[in-house]
C-alpha cells in the first residue's frame, strides 16, 4: 500500500502539465465554456484535432494499448494521471470512441485485416468514430434495438434510427449494433458492424440541440445503407457480447472527480474573495457546510477511481466499482453546479453570453449540462441495477 506517486509518475504528470501549458492558449478555460470534446464551432473542432494529433505523437492516447499494437502497456495509474491533467486543464483532444471503446474491441474480436485497417488510424488520432447504440425506443433497454441489417450478397443493408449519437456530425466512421436476426431472443440476434463512411448514401445526421443550447447529440437515420460483410466484428448475431463487454475498458471515471475538484476549488476561491451583504460568501454557514461535504465526497469519488485503476493495473476486472464510480461522480457534478448556483446568487442565472456574469458564466452552463450526467451513458438507475445484480449477486427483478 502506498498513497503517493512514484518519482516517475510525478515526472510524467509534470510532462503532461507542461505540454498542455504550451499547447493551450493563455487563460484557456475549456472549449466554449463547456466540456464537449468536439467543441461548438468548426474552429474549436479543428483545434481539438490539432491537439489530438500531438497527443497521438506523444504516444499518450494509446499508452494503455499492448505493445504489439503500438502501445506502451502503460500502468493504469499513468493513464489516470493523464486523464486528471487533461481534465484539470479542461483540454480537448482525447478520443473516447476510437481509442477507448472500438480499439480494445477490435484487439479481441477483430480479424487481422480489421486490426490492420483500423488500429493505426485510431492510434494516430486521424479518424473520429462514433457509436451507434441507443435508439428512440431502446434506451436503458438497449438490447431491444430494432435497427435492422439484412444480408444481401457480400453486404448488409441497414435501415433504422440511432439516437443520442455524440459527435456523429464530426465523425468519419461509426461502429453500430444492428439486429440481424429478429426471431432470436433479443440478446442473440444482434451484430456489431463498422460503417466506414458517415457520408455514405442513405445516412442522415440530424442534430439534437440540448437544453444548454449545445450540439453534441445527433439522431442518425439509415435508409438502405450498404456495409460490406468484411465489416462484421465477431460472429454474426453475437454482437451484443462484442459490444457490451468492453464498455468499461480503460475507464476509471477519474474525470468526474477531477472536473468536480477543479470547479470546487474555483468556487472556494470565489467564496473566499467575494462578498455578499458585506460578508465573505465563505462565511455563510450553509455554504461552508456544503463545501466541506462536497470536498469530502469528491475525495471519496477520486479514491474509488484510483481503486479501479489499481485493480486494472493488476489485471482485475472492475464491475460494480465502475458503476459506483459513475454513480457517485455524476451526482457530484450536479452538486457542484448547484453549490455554484448558491454562491453566485442572482448572477448564477447569467450564462457565458452575458457580460455581467461571474466565473465566465460557467456555472449556468454546468447546471444545464450536468442534467444529463446521471442519465447519459447508463442512467443511475441502470448503474444501481448493475451493482445490485452483477456486483452483489441479487436476483434479477
Amino acid at each position: 500500500m502506498r498513497f503517493a506517486f512514484t518519482k516517475e509518475e510525478d515526472d510524467f504528470r509534470q510532462e503532461v502539465r507542461e505540454f498542455l501549458k504550451n499547447e493551450l492558449p493563455k487563460n484557456w478555460d475549456g472549449v466554449a465554456g463547456n466540456n464537449l470534446e468536439e467543441g461548438a464551432s468548426d474552429n474549436e473542432w479543428e483545434f481539438t484535432l490539432k491537439i489530438r494529433a500531438k497527443l497521438a505523437k506523444k504516444g499518450w492516447l494509446t499508452m494503455a494499448w499492448p505493445k504489439e499494437y503500438g502501445g506502451q502497456n502503460a500502468s493504469m495509474i499513468k493513464q489516470v494521471i493523464f486523464a486528471e491533467e487533461m481534465t484539470l486543464a479542461r483540454a480537448p483532444g482525447r478520443d473516447g470512441f476510437g481509442i477507448r471503446m472500438l480499439a480494445p474491441t477490435l484487439m479481441i474480436h477483430g480479424t487481422e485485416e480489421q486490426k490492420t485497417n483500423y488500429l493505426p488510424d485510431i492510434a494516430a488520432g486521424k479518424v473520429q468514430w462514433c457509436q451507434g447504440y441507443s435508439e428512440p425506443e431502446s434506451g436503458s433497454d438497449l438490447a431491444s434495438l430494432q435497427t435492422r441489417a439484412v444480408e444481401d450478397g457480400d453486404d448488409f443493408i441497414i435501415n433504422g434510427t440511432k439516437v443520442w449519437t455524440s459527435s456523429a456530425h464530426r465523425a468519419d466512421k461509426m461502429f453500430i449494433l444492428v439486429r440481424t436476426n429478429p426471431d432470436a431472443p433479443k440478446h442473440r440476434g444482434i451484430s456489431f458492424l463498422l460503417i466506414d463512411d458517415m457520408k455514405s448514401n442513405g445516412i442522415q445526421v440530424n442534430p439534437i440541440i440540448d437544453m444548454a443550447d449545445r450540439h453534441n447529440f445527433n439522431m442518425v437515420t439509415f435508409d438502405n445503407v450498404r456495409v460490406s460483410k468484411k465489416n462484421l466484428v465477431g460472429e454474426l448475431n453475437r454482437g451484443w457480447y462484442v459490444g457490451a463487454t468492453l464498455l468499461d475498458f480503460e475507464r476509471s471515471g477519474v474525470e468526474y472527480s477531477s472536473r468536480c475538484l477543479s470547479l470546487l476549488e474555483e468556487l472556494i476561491e470565489f467564496a473566499k474573495t467575494n462578498k455578499r451583504g458585506g460578508k465573505l460568501i465563505s462565511e455563510d454557514s450553509n455554504i461552508k457546510k456544503e463545501i466541506t461535504e462536497l470536498y469530502t465526497e469528491i475525495n471519496v469519488s477520486r479514491g474509488m477511481s484510483y481503486k479501479i485503476a489499481d485493480m486494472q493495473s493488476k489485471g482485475e476486472v472492475p464491475n460494480k466499482e465502475s458503476s459506483m464510480s459513475k454513480l457517485l461522480g455524476t451526482v457530484l457534478e450536479q452538486k457542484v453546479a448547484n453549490l455554484g448556483m448558491k454562491m453566485l446568487g442572482l448572477y448564477g442565472q447569467l450564462g457565458p453570453k452575458s457580460k455581467h456574469n461571474k466565473l465566465q458564466g460557467k456555472i449556468e452552463q454546468e447546471y444545464l449540462s450536468t442534467v444529463s450526467a446521471t442519465i447519459a451513458a447508463g442512467t443511475s438507475e441502470i448503474q444501481r441495477g448493475i451493482i445490485a445484480t452483477r456486483g452483489l449477486g441479487l436476483p434479477k427483478g
Binding site: 442572482l346 438507475e381 427483478g397
Partner: protein, 374 residues
C-alpha cells in the same frame, strides 16, 4: 382552520386554469423566449380584460377587491403554464408597492393604470451586491429645489423594456435603512437600459441612472422609509414565486407520471419499475408538501399577520423541493428530457431562476435561523 378554497377562489382558479391552458400553450412559451419584448400584447390585453391585475386591489381603484391570497391562486395557474406575460411583476412589483406605501393621490392616479394595463410598472431594487439588504442599495438620490437627482446602477430589473414607469430604490440618508422609493418614467433623461441573457430566457435588465432628475412629488411613501415596504414586497414576491413553482411542479409531476405510464422499456411501462415508482412518489410528496406551507404564508400575509417565519420556510422549502422535482423528472424522462425540444427543460431552467429569486433557500434558512434566535 379550513384549507379549502371558497367558491370565489375555486371559480377564479378554474377560470384561470382554463384560460391559461388554452391561451398559453408550449408554443407561446417558446416563442416568447426569443421574442424581443418577451410578451404578447394581445394575450396581455386578454389578461387585463379578465381583470386579474386588479385581483388584490380594492374596487375603488378599479380592482377586484380580493386579496394577495387570491392573486396567489392565479400565480399558481400561471406557473403551471410558465406564463411569460408579466402578471407577477406588474402586480407585485408594480402595483403593490404603490398600494402599500403610496399616498392617496398616487394610488388614485397609478393603480387604475396598472390594473387597466395602461401602465406597466417594474421595480428596480437589486444592485451589484445582490443580497436582499438595505446595505445593497448604493444608488443615491439627493434633493435640491424639490428635485431629486439619482445616480447608480440597478441590476436584474424585470421587464424594464416594456415598462413605462420604474420604481427605483435609492439611498437618501446616512443610516443603513435610509432608503426611499421613487417613481420614474423610463423615458427620463439619464436612464439607459440594457438586457441580460438569462437561464430562463426571461427579460431582465441592467439600468444605469446618471443624473436622473425627478420632482419630489415622485417619491412614493416618506423619505428614508421605504425599507419596510421593500421587505413586505419581497415577502410577497417570495410567496408569489413559490406559487408559480407549485403550479409548475404540479404540471411537471403530471407530465412525468403520464410519461412513466406510456414509455415502455424491457417490455413493460417504466412506471412499473420500483425505482421509477419511487421517483414519482417522491415528486408527488414534495409537490403535495409544498401547498400548505405556501398558502399558510400567503394567508397570513393577506391577513396582515406576521408571516416572516412562514415566508422563509415556504421559500426555502419550495426552492429546494421544486428544483428536486424537476431533477427527478429529468431522471424519469432519460435522454429525451434534456433536449431543447422537450417541454421538461423549459420547466427546469425556470426552476433554477425561481429557486434563486427573492432569496434562495440559504438566504431564507439564514433568516429563519435568526428568527428562531439561533
Amino acid at each position: 382552520m379550513d384549507l379549502s378554497l371558497n367558491e370565489t377562489q375555486k371559480m377564479l382558479k378554474n377560470t384561470a386554469k382554463d384560460f391559461f391552458t388554452s391561451e398559453c400553450p408550449e408554443t407561446h412559451v417558446r416563442e416568447m423566449e426569443t421574442d424581443q419584448e418577451g410578451y404578447n400584447k394581445q394575450l396581455w390585453e386578454k389578461i387585463v380584460n379578465q381583470g386579474w391585475l386588479g385581483v388584490p386591489f380594492p374596487e375603488k381603484y378599479g380592482g377586484f377587491g380580493l386579496s394577495f391570497l387570491e392573486f396567489c391562486i392565479l400565480l399558481e395557474e400561471a406557473g403551471r403554464v410558465l406564463l411569460p406575460e408579466p402578471l407577477f411583476e406588474a402586480v407585485l412589483l408594480g402595483g403593490m408597492p404603490i398600494f402599500i406605501s403610496g399616498n392617496e393621490k398616487q394610488k388614485e392616479e397609478l393603480l387604475p393604470k396598472v390594473i387597466s394595463g395602461e401602465s406597466i410598472i417594474t421595480l428596480a431594487f437589486y444592485e451589484e451586491d445582490d443580497l436582499i439588504s438595505p446595505l445593497s442599495v448604493q444608488t443615491k438620490a439627493s434633493l435640491n429645489n424639490n428635485v431629486y437627482k439619482l445616480y447608480g446602477t440597478k441590476m436584474f430589473v424585470p421587464n424594464a423594456n416594456i415598462s413605462d414607469l420604474l420604481l427605483v430604490t435609492a439611498r437618501t440618508g446616512k443610516n443603513d435603512k435610509d432608503i426611499s422609493l421613487f417613481l420614474i418614467p423610463s423615458s427620463t433623461e439619464g436612464i439607459t437600459i440594457s438586457p441580460l441573457s438569462t437561464i430562463s430566457s426571461d427579460k431582465q435588465f441592467v439600468i444605469n441612472l446618471d443624473n436622473v432628475q425627478i420632482p419630489s412629488s415622485n417619491l412614493i411613501g416618506n423619505e428614508n422609509n421605504a425599507w419596510e415596504t421593500i421587505e413586505t414586497i419581497f415577502d410577497m414576491a417570495a410567496i408569489g414565486k413559490s406559487c408559480e413553482m407549485l403550479g409548475a411542479g404540479e404540471k411537471v409531476l403530471e407530465g412525468t407520471v403520464e410519461y412513466a405510464k406510456t414509455r415502455t422499456q424491457f417490455g413493460r411501462p417504466i412506471g412499473t419499475f420500483g425505482e421509477i415508482q419511487r421517483h414519482c412518489s417522491e415528486m408527488a410528496t414534495l409537490v403535495e408538501g409544498t401547498r400548505f406551507v405556501i398558502y399558510e404564508a400567503a394567508w397570513k400575509l393577506s391577513n396582515n399577520q406576521n408571516a416572516s417565519k412562514e415566508v422563509s420556510m415556504a421559500k426555502s422549502w419550495t426552492s429546494d423541493s421544486h428544483t428536486k422535482v424537476c431533477a427527478i423528472a429529468h431522471q424519469v424522462h432519460g435522454g429525451i428530457g434534456f433536449t431543447k425540444e422537450h417541454w421538461i427543460q423549459l420547466y427546469s431552467r425556470r426552476a433554477k431562476a425561481a429557486e434563486i429569486a427573492y432569496g434562495d433557500a440559504n438566504f431564507h434558512r439564514n433568516k429563519l435561523a435568526s428568527l428562531l434566535k439561533l
